[in-house]
């Protein structure tokens, strides 16, 4: 048992106890959920500190017959995402304090289980375990949307479920193919990702596997044209659901591409780089344009997510260091900024029972504090320097620019479109003649201010010190990061084939102990290899 297990067990235990507490009354369920979220936050912070500069591994036997192990691992990227999950979890519980009034216990149980699934996805290195976590995320989210959602909740919940589930079937097929291919080559069944990496796959196989895994992850991201579940799910989900969805759930798709697809099938990735870039760029503009003409607050923000996530995947697919770092930054920042916008949408809906821009307008006089927050998050969303979003988008644009100058030019226009819809969010809500419908709405209270302000602080800190986010990417050895030296070359491009070359394809390198481990008692992968 290492920190990884504790982090994983915390929400599970929390779910059980919260479920029991929910039988007493709502408040105790909230308190219990909050307690376990805070414990998770503390543990995640400890993980961040522990992992610094290396990797933390934990491995137990699970299903030996299948070759499945309980293999958790956290490097810098993983620890970062775990921390993000924990932060978002705390805020989610905080913001639903008055938002959720029915079946309070059950709600928090589902939220905690959702955390479990997400954490499992971020930490698992065994593909069966990963897939388990991947599917585990679906069910709680389905119920969170379907039970505590708004007017059209069932439709959205089912749509969400069907889309992501269909996607994950492709993912499963691809994983199983690799699994059996590995077994056929070595005679040993193993779901361990490190083992699967050693599988020799032909170009055609790699392309197929890429497509399968890519569809599975792209639905979750979501990339155009798999995105249509997102606006519905976001719009109908309760505030906490939207927050978690935007904050971390979408990131699992990107994380999957980053962590599993790129190392596993470099040839496939190289073959479909153009496709990935095209879909990302389409997504950027498509989401932004669609967002601009929405009349529903949350729907607008949901479409903006598609646009932002387009930047993330673009950063991945351009295949250089700045694109990659930008992608990770944008992942984190999008979670915080869009999460903030969803919080505000939720606060507004809680007070006004509507999300329609036509009903809002001129609310600044009544809610100056919230106006300031909304202004900040809108500015963050359009990527104003000083917030993390700028750094992320800028890195991605720089990466695209390095790949092809016109790609950078096209992408940068996305920033203009981001400005269009972000300003619209703010102006349509806060500016204009004072709303006739709403008088004397209460401004944000302390609890909401805490939730929003913590997001603001994180965004600003990342905006000024982006290395807090990008430095961990290099902790576990820069396996995942495209080689820095190539793209730092002032003029000249890394060759396409080289860009995704990973040690995985080289059996000699594969055996090399690449990671350091700190905690005693953990299974020492590197150490074993050395012995």
């Amino acid at each position: 048992m290492t920190l990884l297990s504790y982090i994983l067990i915390t929400p599970v235990a929390g779910a059980v106890i919260t479920g029991l507490a929910g039988r007493v009354n709502g408040l105790s369920a909230r308190m219990s959920a909050m307690f376990f979220m805070l414990v998770g936050l503390v543990l995640s912070t400890m993980l961040m500190i522990t992992v610094e500069g290396g990797t933390l591994v934990e491995k137990h036997a699970w299903f030996p017959a299948l070759g499945a192990t309980f293999h958790l691992e956290a490097d810098g990227l993983g620890a970062l995402m775990v921390l993000l999950t924990a932060i978002i979890g705390v805020i989610a519980v905080l913001i639903s304090w008055h938002d959720i009034n029915e079946k309070v216990g059950a709600f928090h149980v589902w939220v905690l289980l959702l955390q479990t699934g997400i954490l499992l996805v971020f930490m698992a290195r065994d593909m069966l375990l990963f897939y388990f976590g991947w599917e585990l995320m679906l069910i709680p989210m389905f119920f969170i949307i379907g039970v505590w959602g708004h007017e059209d909740k069932l439709y959205s919940a089912i749509k969400f479920f069907l889309f992501t589930f269909t996607g994950s079937i492709f993912l499963l097929l691809a994983l199983l193919y690799v699994y059996f291919a590995h077994a056929a080559q070595t005679g040993q069944y193993s779901f361990d990702f490190a083992d699967l990496l050693a599988t020799k796959l032909t170009g055609k196989e790699q392309r197929l596997i890429f497509l399968g895994m890519f569809i599975g992850f792209a639905v979750k991201v979501p990339l155009f044209p798999f995105h249509t579940w997102l606006p519905d799910a976001h719009t109908q989900a309760p505030t906490a659901g939207s927050l978690i969805l935007a904050g971390v759930l979408l990131k699992t798709g990107v994380y999957g591409i980053m962590r599993f697809v790129f190392p596993l099938v470099p040839v496939g990735v190289a073959a479909y780089t153009k496709l990935g870039i095209a879909l990302s760029v389409i997504g950027i503009f498509y989401g932004a344009l669609a967002a601009f003409s929405q009349r529903d607050f949350k729907r607008l923000v949901a479409y903006s997510s598609i646009s932002h996530l387009g930047f993330v995947t673009l950063g991945l697919f351009v295949g250089n260091a700045s694109g990659y770092q930008g992608a990770v930054l944008q992942m984190v920042n999008h979670g915080l900024a869009t999460g903030g916008l969803f919080l505000i949408a939720g606060i507004l809906q809680e007070r006004t029972h509507t999300r329609s821009f036509e009903m809002f307008g001129g609310l600044w006089k009544q809610m100056p504090t919230m106006g300031a927050f909304l202004l900040f998050f809108a500015m963050a969303s359009l990527g104003i320097p000083g917030t993390g979003n700028f750094v992320g988008e800028f890195y991605v644009i720089a990466g695209a620019f390095l790949k092809k100058w016109w790609l950078g030019a096209v992408t940068s226009m996305g920033v203009l479109f981001a400005a269009m819809y972000s300003l619209r969010v703010f102006l349509a809500t806060m500016h204009g003649p004072e709303s006739v419908t709403f008088k004397k709405l209460p401004d944000t209270n302390l609890r909401e201010n805490v939730a929003l302000f913590s997001l603001v602080i994180l965004l600003v800190v990342i905006g000024f010190r982006p290395s807090l986010v990008t430095a961990p990417l290099y902790w576990g050895g820069d396996k995942l990061v495209p080689q820095k030296g190539r793209s730092a070359d002032p003029i000249g491009q890394p060759k396409k084939e080289e860009a995704f070359q990973t040690p995985a394809k080289d059996p000699n390198l594969q055996q090399k102990p690449a990671q350091t481990v700190y905690l005693p008692g953990a299974s020492l992968r590197g150490g074993e290899a050395a012995l």
Partner: protein, 667 residues
């Protein structure tokens, strides 16, 4: 902590107003509006003091030689580091930064004081001061950053603050539209700037201390690595991209349309942001990247053309406006056009000098107009004013001095700075007589419209019965301070023929611009310069005279209005009888053009896109869903609880299996 090895801490400069903004935002509910105002003024005042200290420290350093000016440089931490994007949070305080910081904090301080009185009865005063402080902080980051990426942080920050402050009177939707327009248009420029900076970063990096690398890029014949362009072409592209960025921020053609609308904000904001400081960021940028522009050559020509064209364009528009602030806004565009023209003909230090003088007289004019507006209860149409000379004496004095400087009245600062630019436009290697001619015509128009203001607003009889309430002293004496500088500051760079302390400013900047500063070509002497100065003075005086005959107390108003001129608003389609005047009134119809070419298509595209998403993309999935549902209803119809249906399904199965078996089993 604040002074280390004789180097004052540069981070304090932007940190002070930022701290002020932070305090105001955090505790705004707990403090009175007056307290917020005091904190804001205090923060900027302290900042100005610190800037003065930094400046005196810098000036106190011995100048090493003519080519290396002393500067302070301070690195805090690494901000961006990925591939070509390398940037530190680091500050550079050289002579260019010094001039800009003095203006930003000094003029900013006066405008803060003025705002304290001006915004007294406004419900959003705390918010106003918070954003004003934030603006000053951003602007100071812009002008003290040591690399272009960090500068971009300030660059965007001032844009955002400009957006907040233009939309300060948020309950009017046209103010929101103006704010949005300002933000989007400048952001369009910013995108070009980003691309230009990325290109620069790829070529040599964007640290201001290392820009001399552009010279060597020029030598590269064909750049390697698939870019397939000569170094010179790349430089030109980069220069043009930066120019586009500068044009967006500085309201130059063709991105100038936002500035007249930006006058929707409070008048002190117009004075600070849209006259003195933010809009001159483009000038700063071009001055910083002068090596790139000179290396490109074509870039310089483009800059000069943009500057001259903008100067002329805005001056013509300013002549027919009826809104006092709009006149000043067009005048600002025009004057920045002069600065850009100055930069474009290679007279970098003169461009900066015009910025310096313009900051004073234009801030003075804006604040004075603010006092007028404030005294007349937010009346902005000049044709509803008149005869204010005796009622607002101090304001009139300030306005008159500011207008004189704007018009280039001989002896005022505007005369010296403008004349020097015109001289350079004629005589330097990048200049030519066309630029000079355009500049001269513009100077004439400038004199006409600036004194049109004086004559219409302050002379004659009151045109409308508005009670004039007496402005508080805080609304007057900052004007007088600014007016004093507006008149006298020209002594810093007296023309070469004067002899006494002449060209002090140019010498001061010589180490910065060095050989890139274009000097008059052979054959142009001080005697020529004196003659052209006389021509300039004559043009200015002639313009004032023409203005008197056209708009003076006894003149018939020109151009002839179509209706009651006092009712004209900025959106009035045809305020004048003359088509030309209407054309000029609407800024040569560029707003309408952009609305037709960009705004409406994008909006329509957005609607179409939303429709496509709902109907086509989602429709595909709905279709899949419908197919599945059709299967579902088919299957459900088998399970309807009727035995007969079950039997039939069974029968179907039997038939199907039999057919299958029969087709599989060979005969």
């Amino acid at each position: 902590m604040f002074v280390h090895n004789g180097i004052p801490a540069l981070w304090v400069i932007p940190a002070l107003p930022a701290l002020g903004a932070l305090i105001i935002f955090l505790f705004s509910k707990a403090m009175s509006p007056q307290t917020a105002g005091r904190i804001a003024c205090g923060a900027v005042g302290l900042c100005f003091g610190w800037v003065a200290f930094c400046s005196s420290s810098l000036l106190g350093l011995p100048s090493a030689d003519a080519h290396n000016a002393p500067y302070f440089h301070q690195e805090l931490w690494t901000w961006l580091s990925a591939g070509i994007v390398q940037s530190k949070v680091a500050f550079l305080f050289d002579r260019v930064s010094m001039v800009f910081t003095i203006i930003v904090s000094g003029v900013g301080f006066l405008i803060h004081l003025y705002s304290y009185a001006y915004m007294d009865d406004d419900e959003g005063e705390r918010r106003y001061f918070g954003y004003l402080n934030l603006f000053v902080a951003s602007m100071l980051i812009l002008v003290t950053a040591d690399n272009a990426f960090f500068m971009f942080m300030g660059w965007e920050g001032v844009g955002a603050c400009s957006f907040f402050l233009i939309g300060h009177y948020y309950s009017k939707s046209e103010n929101c539209a103006a704010a949005t327009k300002a933000f989007l248009v400048t952001r369009l420029g910013d995108i070009f700037l980003i691309l230009g900076l990325l290109l620069c970063a790829k070529l040599v990096g964007v640290s201001f201390l290392n820009l001399s690398g552009f010279e060597s890029v020029k030598e590269m014949e064909v750049v390697k690595g698939g870019w397939g362009m000569s170094g010179h072409a790349l430089l030109t592209i980069a220069a043009l991209l930066l120019l586009a960025g500068a044009a967006g921020k500085s309201a130059q053609l063709p991105l100038q349309t936002w500035l007249p609308d930006a006058m929707a904000g409070p008048t002190p904001v117009s004075a600070l942001i849209h006259a003195a400081t933010m809009v001159t960021a483009g000038v700063y940028l071009i001055a910083r990247f002068h090596i790139l522009f000179v290396a490109s050559g074509t870039g310089m020509t483009a800059v000069a053309i943009v500057g001259a064209a903008t100067a002329f364009y805005a001056a013509t528009c300013a002549c027919v406006q009826t809104d006092i602030k709009r006149i000043l806004a067009y005048s600002t565009i025009s004057q920045i056009g002069y600065m850009v023209l100055g930069l474009g003909v290679g007279a970098f230090s003169l461009g900066l000098f015009h910025f310096f003088t313009h900051a004073f007289y234009k801030a003075c004019l804006f604040l004075a107009s603010g006092t007028v507006i404030h005294s007349l209860h937010h009346e902005q149409n000049i044709y509803n004013m008149g005869g204010l000379k005796s009622k607002l004496k101090g304001t009139f004095a300030a306005f008159l001095l500011g207008s004189a400087a704007l018009a280039g009245f001989p002896g005022t600062s505007g005369f010296f700075s403008k004349d020097a630019i015109l001289w350079s436009a004629l005589t330097t290697g990048f200049g030519n007589p066309v630029f000079y001619g355009v500049g001269l015509v513009t100077a004439f128009l400038t004199a006409v419209y600036s004194f049109r203001l004086i004559f219409v607003v302050f002379y004659g009889a009151p045109r409308k019965d508005i009670h004039v309430h007496h402005p508080s002293p805080l609304l007057v004496w900052p004007l007088l301070v600014l007016a004093f500088f507006a008149v006298t500051i020209g002594v810093l760079n007296l023309p070469g023929f004067v002899g006494f302390k002449s060209l002090a400013w140019e010498h001061f900047f010589h180490p910065i611009f060095g050989e890139f500063q274009a000097e008059p070509k052979e054959g142009w002497t001080h005697a020529h310069e004196a003659i052209f100065a006389l021509i300039g003075a004559a043009v200015a005086l002639g313009g004032i005279l023409v203005s008197y005959t056209l708009f003076g107390p006894n003149a018939k108003m020109l151009p002839e209005p179509a209706g009651n001129i006092g009712d004209v608003e900025n959106s009035t389609p045809k305020p004048y009888k003359s088509a030309l005047a209407n054309f000029l009134f609407h800024g040569w119809g560029m707003d309408q053009l952009y609305a037709a070419v960009f705004v409406r298509p994008v909006k329509r595209l957005s609607m179409i896109n939303a429709w496509v998403d709902k109907v086509v993309v989602d429709g595909v999935y709905e279709l899949i869903g419908a197919i599945v549902r059709a299967f579902h209803s088919l299957v459900v119809s088998f399970q309807n609880g009727r035995v007969g249906r079950y039997a039939m399904v069974m029968l179907f199965g039997v038939v199907a299996v039999t057919i299958l078996v029969m087709s599989i089993i060979p005969r």
